[in-house]
Amino acid sequence: MKKLIIALLISFASTSVFAGSHSPCGVTSGSINILANEFTTYRIFMDEVKSCAGPEADFNVTHSVDHNKLQVAALSANPAEFSAKLVTNGSITPLMNDGLIRPLDDLVAKYGSNLNDNQKITIDGKIYAVAFMANAQHLWYRESILNDLGIAVPSTYEEVIAAAEKIKAAGVMENPYAGAFKSGWNLGQEFVNMYLGHGGEFFKSGSAQPNVNNEKGVAALNMIKKLTELSNPDFLTQDTNAVKEEWESGNVALMHIWNSGAASLLDDEGDQNIKADTRLAPSPTVGGGSKPATTLWWDGIAIATNTSDENAEASFRALVGAASSTDLANNNPNATVWLIKGYTPGDTAGPVVDAASRGTTPYPSFPHMSLMHGALSTELVEFLQGNESAEKALADVEAAYIAKATEQGFL
C-alpha cells in the first residue's frame, strides 16, 4: 500500500506524448450534460472540463449535494437525463448494480494516453470510471488555541476529547469540536468512520447479513456521543458546509471534515487570521486501533449507459481532458489530492497520504452498503439525543437494514 501511494503521489512529470492517440479537448459534436456533487474542488474541476470542451461544445453541468439521491433515477431513464456523472467509490455501486454506467475501455484507449494507470477504476477487468482525486476526512485544528493551552496535536480520539474538554474548561470556546453530524448521510458516514476505526465489519463475512450490533459498534457510538457533547447543540442539523461556516466564524478549534474542504477554508475569502491559524492533521485512531478512524475515497468520472455514443464520447473527452490536465493539478495544488500525472502534492495533501500509508480502509463498495448507510442515517439519532441505549440503536439499524435489503432482493 505504502509503495503504491508513494508512486501515486510522486508521479513523474511526464512528457505528454499522444502517441497515435487523439487529443481529448475541443469537442465540436454531441452534447455534454454532467451531474456532480457541490463543493469547491468540483467547481474548479468543472471549470477545467468546460474549458477543455471548448467554446463550441454544448456544455451543461448540474451541481447538487443531492447527487446521490438523483443519480439512479436520472440515469435509469432512456435516454438518460445526464450523459456523465462524477462518482466516488461510494456512489458508483448503486450505478453498477443496475448497469447504468458503461465500460470505458475503448474511450480510454482513444483519449486516455495521458492517464496514470491507477486512475483507471477497473471492475471485473473493465474500466468503469476514471479517478482524478483522492479524498478523506481528517482532523483540522487551530494552532494558536492548542499552543496557548499547551495541548499537543491529538493523534487519537481520546486525546481529541481531552483537548476539547480542556478548551471548554478554559472558557475559550463553548463548543470546541465540530463534525458533520447532520442526520442523514453525514451522520451515517461518521459511524462508518468510527466503526471501521474500531476494526468493525459491516456484514457477516460472505453474506449480506448485517453485523453492527456488537462491542465495536457500541464503542463507536459512545465515542460519537462524546464528540457531539462537545459540539454545537445544533449538531444534528449541520452538514460539512455548515461546519465550515462554524470554523470560519471562529467558533470551533477542532474538527474532522474532508480534505477537499481546504479549497474553500484556505482561500482568500473570510477571516484571514483564522485561515492563517488553520492546520491540518492526520485522522486520529480510536480505541487503541492502528488504522485512522476514517475512510479513503476516490472521485472520478463515469459515463451513462443510456446515452448516445456521440454524447458519451463528447462527455468523456471533456472530462478526461480535465482528469489528465497537469496544469489543473499544479495550479490548484491545495484544492485536493489530485491523482493526475505530473502533480506535485501541495501542503494540504499530507493527511490523505498519511491515511493511505497507514492502511486506512477505503469506503466499502458492497452492492448493499448503501442500504446499510441509509439505515445508519436514520436510526442513530435517538441514541445521540439520549433517548435510547447504543445496543437498542444498533439493533434498530440492523432491523431497518434487514427490512430494506429484503425488499431489494439482497436477503
Partner: protein
C-alpha cells in the same frame, strides 16, 4: 335532476377522477404487494487508486434476465405492510409478550419507524387544527370591522403566510431561529440561557414545527371565515343590537351558529392538509426528530440510492387509510347535519 342528465353532467369529472386519482392509487397498491427480484451477486476483482481487492457486485446480466421474466418483481402479498418499517406486527407481538410494563411496551412501539411517524403526524394534526380555526375566526372578525379602504391591504397582508411556498417559508424561519438569527438570539436573551437552541431538542423542534403549521394554515381559515362573514344576515344582528346584546353575545349567539358548517369544512380540509405534513420537516432539517408519514414516502423514494417502490406504495396506502379513518367522524357529522337540514 333526472338521472340521465346527472350522469352526463358528472361524467367528465368522474372520468378525470378515475384516470388521475383512481388508477394511480390502484397502481400504487399493486406495486406495494411486490418486492424486487433477487439480486444475483458475483465475486469480481476491483482495482482503484488504493489497490486491488476481491469484492462482490451485482451480476447485471443475470439480474436483468430475471427482471425481464418478472418485471413487477416478486409477489410479497401484504409482507411489506407488516414488516418492521411499516406495521411491524412481529415486533409488536414480541414486545407485548416480553413486556414488563405498559410504559416499556409503549416505548418500543413508538420507536418503530411507522408508529413514530404516525405519532408526530397525529400530534401535528391535532395541535395545529384547533388553533388555526380559532385564530382564523378571530382574525376574520377583526378584519371585518376595519374601515373599507384599509381592508384590501390588510387582507393581502394576512394571507401572505399562505402564499409563501411552505419550503421557502420554513427555510426563512429556520434561519431566523438559528442561535445567531433574530428569533433564536432574542429567545436566548429572553430566557438568559446562551445555550438554548430551538433546533437541538426534539420537544422544541416539535413546538417550532407546530407553530409554523399554525402560522402557515391560519390564512386559509381566515379567508374562508371572512367570506362566510359576508353572508351573515344583518337583520338578526340589528335586532340583537336593539335588544341590547353585547358584541360578544351577538358573535356567540348569531355569528357562530351561522358559521358552524363552515368551521366543519375548514376542520376537514385542515386535518387532511396537516395529515400530509412534509415540507416544514425538510425546511427545518428536522428529519432526525420529527418524521411524518409523507416524509417516510419521500425517504423511500429519494433518500435511498435505489427507490423502494413497494415500501413507498405501502406507506401511501396506509396514509390514505389514515386520512379516511380521521375524516370519518367529521363526514358522518356533516351527513347527519345535511339530513336534518332537509
Amino acid at each position: 335532476m333526472p338521472h340521465r342528465t346527472f350522469i352526463w353532467f358528472i361524467l367528465p369529472t368522474a372520468l378525470a377522477m378515475i384516470l388521475f386519482i383512481g388508477l394511480p392509487i390502484v397502481s400504487s397498491f399493486f406495486q406495494s404487494l411486490h418486492i424486487e427480484n433477487e439480486q444475483v451477486l458475483m465475486e469480481v476483482e476491483n482495482c482503484d487508486p488504493f489497490g486491488c481487492t476481491t469484492n462482490v457486485r451485482v451480476d447485471v446480466e443475470a439480474t436483468e434476465k430475471i427482471e425481464a421474466e418478472n418485471p413487477l418483481g416478486r409477489f410479497n402479498g401484504f409482507g411489506t405492510y407488516t414488516d418492521r418499517n411499516h406495521l411491524a406486527f412481529d415486533e409488536i407481538r414480541e414486545a407485548w409478550d416480553n413486556k414488563t410494563s405498559i410504559g416499556e411496551f409503549k416505548d418500543i412501539v413508538l420507536n418503530l419507524p411507522f408508529y413514530k411517524a404516525l405519532l408526530f403526524t397525529l400530534t401535528f394534526c391535532f395541535a395545529v387544527t384547533p388553533p388555526v380555526i380559532v385564530l382564523g375566526f378571530i382574525v376574520a372578525l377583526s378584519v371585518n370591522t376595519l374601515a373599507k379602504n384599509l381592508k384590501g391591504l390588510i387582507v393581502f397582508g394576512t394571507i401572505l403566510p399562505m402564499i409563501v411556498t411552505p419550503l421557502i417559508g420554513s427555510l426563512v424561519l429556520f434561519w431566523m431561529i438559528d442561535s445567531q438569527g433574530i428569533i433564536g438570539a432574542s429567545i436566548q436573551i429572553l430566557f438568559d440561557d446562551p445555550n438554548l437552541s430551538l433546533k437541538a431538542s426534539s420537544n422544541l423542534t416539535w413546538i417550532t414545527l407546530i407553530i409554523y403549521g399554525i402560522w402557515h394554515n391560519t390564512p386559509f381559515a381566515f379567508v374562508v371565515f371572512y367570506a362566510a362573514l359576508q353572508t351573515v344576515p344583518q337583520d338578526p344582528l340589528e335586532a340583537a343590537y336593539i335588544d341590547g346584546a353585547t358584541r360578544f353575545e351577538r358573535v356567540r349567539f348569531i355569528v357562530i351558529p351561522h358559521l358552524y358548517p363552515v368551521a366543519t369544512f375548514i376542520m376537514l380540509i385542515c386535518l387532511m392538509d396537516n395529515f400530509r405534513v412534509f415540507e416544514p420537516i425538510i425546511g427545518f432539517s428536522a428529519e432526525g426528530v420529527a418524521q411524518s408519514l409523507s416524509w417516510m414516502i419521500y425517504q423511500d423514494l429519494r433518500n435511498e440510492n435505489k427507490m423502494l417502490f413497494g415500501s413507498a406504495g405501502a406507506t401511501s396506502m396506509l396514509t390514505i387509510l389514515g386520512i379516511a379513518f380521521l375524516l370519518t367522524p367529521v363526514l358522518i357529522r356533516t351527513w347527519k347535519e345535511f339530513k336534518t337540514e332537509r
